[in-house]
């Protein structure tokens, strides 16, 4: 279980996350919804530990001062101060916004980099699993990542995250810029990963309509605060949410 308590993030004097608490039960799918600049990516970076890296980098560069508060626990263990790579070892794996695949490596190499932490045997098993989830990647294994289309890159990015044997998979805007066809493929993949692997999945998305049917619990974030949380039915029944986020 991943638990975030009263997370607060300041970018210099701007409050980017205000008292956000999130509980993700093992094996559940959590949706984080909000418009641009709501704080979704900040939340994902904070969960993955990348925020600590950004903070350090800014300090070195003399840029904005980032201040973090709050507690993060993974299965009861406090991970608030662990750097990103240590959290990845514990099983929190981020699939970043805008894919961030390695454009000059082939698809297979991209996947291999993802499985750096696991052994050879695990790697083979995971590779088969990823190719099972995204059969289309089979055709591209030898191609350079940078030459794939946006949708294919997204599949590759999720595949790369899966290669690391995650316990908690953080998907930051996995549907960004995808056509409805690819959106469907990704959504189906999330469903299948959940069914076969039983891992915790946290999905952040602006456009919540395709995501809402597959989540167990959702949070709506606005201006850095979590303004509403509940099961998908509760979210769907809220009239404000309906008009603002689902366009119904």
């Amino acid at each position: 279980m991943l638990e975030a308590k009263e997370l607060m993030v300041f970018y210099e004097n701007m409050l980017a996350l205000n008292n956000v608490s999130i509980t993700a039960e093992t094996g559940s799918v959590i949706g984080i919804f909000g418009s641009n600049s709501a704080g979704k990516s900040t939340l994902m970076y904070t969960l993955a530990g990348i925020m600590l890296d950004i903070k350090k980098k800014e300090e070195m560069r003399g840029g904005e001062r980032i201040t973090l508060f709050g507690a993060l626990t993974l299965e009861g263990r406090d991970i608030s101060n662990l750097p990103a790579h240590a959290r990845a070892k514990l099983g929190i794996v981020l699939c970043p916004e805008r894919r961030r695949i390695f454009p000059e490596s082939s698809v297979l190499e991209n996947l291999k980099i993802g499985s750096y932490l696991t052994g050879i045997r695990e790697r083979k098993k995971n590779l088969e699993y990823v190719l099972g989830v995204f059969p289309r990647l089979h055709e591209f294994l030898g191609r350079q990542g940078g030459f794939l289309s946006g949708g294919e890159q997204q599949m590759l990015a999720i595949g790369r995250a899966l290669m690391a044997n995650p316990k908690v998979l953080l998907l930051d805007e996995p549907l960004l810029g995808l056509s409805p066809v690819y959106q469907k493929i990704v959504i189906e993949a999330i469903k299948e990963i959940r069914k076969t692997r039983g891992i915790t999945i946290v999905v952040s998305e602006q456009y919540s309509r395709p995501v809402i049917p597959i989540i167990d619990k959702g949070y709506i974030i606005e201006n850095g605060s979590s303004i509403l949380e509940g099961t998908k039915e509760e979210l769907m029944d809220n009239p404000d949410v309906k008009s603002a986020y689902f366009g119904i």
């Binding site: 210099e12 004097n13 560069r61 003399g62 840029g63 201040t67 508060f69």
Partner: protein
């Protein structure tokens, strides 16, 4: 437990004297102009203060030459995004050009230096034109190779005085002129480049660094812009080289020394990049420091390297960024 964080707040006077507000009181004017005036006044007074120490006057001259190289490196690297290790090329070409104008064509000093600057800049730009499409480390490598190329050509063909160099350049008419020529040049180019950065062309050049595809998409020819930027920087560098040649009254192969490429980079690292001012402050620390360290003989390189590494690891923001922040902002604890 009480939760608090340190927050940074702009000083009131900074807010009042910046942006849409206009500077209204003498105090605000002093706040804005103070640091700049301090630098200008300090530089102009330096030769008078060091009246009794001709050796240190010479150090000031050389420091200013390095200052010119540092602002040109800073401009090219942190504004346009071309990492240029060709300081030695600019100095060498400028030095040899002024020697040609002064010794062979008998131009007076104050005509030879600007002519050398212009012609040297032209030569450097033409030589670098084919490499402008290269990015990052490739451009750096090419600019690092050119000084070596020039040295070997002059050595092998025994032209331009060969290994002995060209001697008999005119010196400056009097020692004050010698000091003030380079100080005024440094100040002009320092504030000129800062002004240029705020103009439209500066904005576009910064755009080239961030994303040249978007600049092209806005209908701007990136190659022209880069060539212009290289011309400006090599002009500054060549003027420094021409000055140096007249200072030594000699133009030789040591003008192509690697120091002219390396020290400016170190200075920018220490002072903080992107503002030109940091580059100048960096040279004002590094060059006198290396003179003090002369006491340690060749061991000074070790101390030099340690100081540099320390700066890069622990204060990579640079001194100027640090002090500018202290000057413009104050910190206080805020409860949450």
């Amino acid at each position: 437990m009480e939760v608090r964080r340190k927050e940074r707040i702009d000083r009131g006077i900074k807010v009042r004297s910046e942006g849409i507000y206009c500077v209204s009181s003498p105090k605000e004017m002093l706040y804005v102009a103070g640091p700049r005036l301090l630098l200008i006044a300090g530089l102009l007074l330096l030769p008078l203060v060091l009246e009794m120490a001709p050796y240190w006057k010479r150090v000031v001259n050389i420091m200013c030459v390095y200052g010119l190289l540092a602002i040109s490196f800073d401009f090219l690297a942190n504004v346009v995004g071309l990492v240029c290790l060709g300081g030695a090329m600019f100095i060498g070409v400028g030095g040899y050009m002024t020697a040609i104008f002064n010794v062979y064509l008998h131009c007076p000093v104050f005509l030879a230096i600007p002519l050398a600057g212009l012609s040297g800049a032209l030569i450097c730009t033409v030589l670098l034109l084919p490499c402008l499409a290269l990015r990052g480390v490739y451009f750096a490598i090419v600019t690092l190779m050119y000084p070596l190329l020039f040295t070997r050509i002059i050595e092998a063909l025994n032209i331009l005085g060969g290994t002995n160099g060209i001697t008999g350049l005119d010196s400056f008419p009097n020692p004050y002129l010698e000091n003030y020529v380079i100080i005024v040049l440094l100040l002009i180019f320092l504030f000129g480049l800062r002004r240029l950065m705020d103009e439209d062309i500066g904005l576009v050049l910064r755009g080239v660094k961030d994303n040249d595809q978007s600049v092209r998409a806005s209908g701007i020819n990136v190659a022209h812009l880069k060539a212009l930027a290289v011309f400006i920087t090599s002009f500054i560098g060549c003027l420094g080289g021409a000055y140096l040649a007249h200072l030594y009254m000699w133009a030789g192969l040591s003008l192509f020394a690697l120091d002219f490429s390396i020290i400016p980079i170190a200075a920018v690292t220490i002072g903080g990049g992107g503002s030109m001012m940091g580059a100048v402050i960096g040279t004002f620390i590094l060059v006198p420091l290396s003179e003090f360290l002369r006491f340690f003989g060749t061991f000074r390189i070790v101390i030099y390297c340690l100081i540099l590494t320390g700066f890069i690891v622990f204060r990579s923001e640079g001194l100027l960024t640090y002090f500018a922040r202290k000057y413009d902002q104050f910190e206080r604890w805020a409860k949450i």
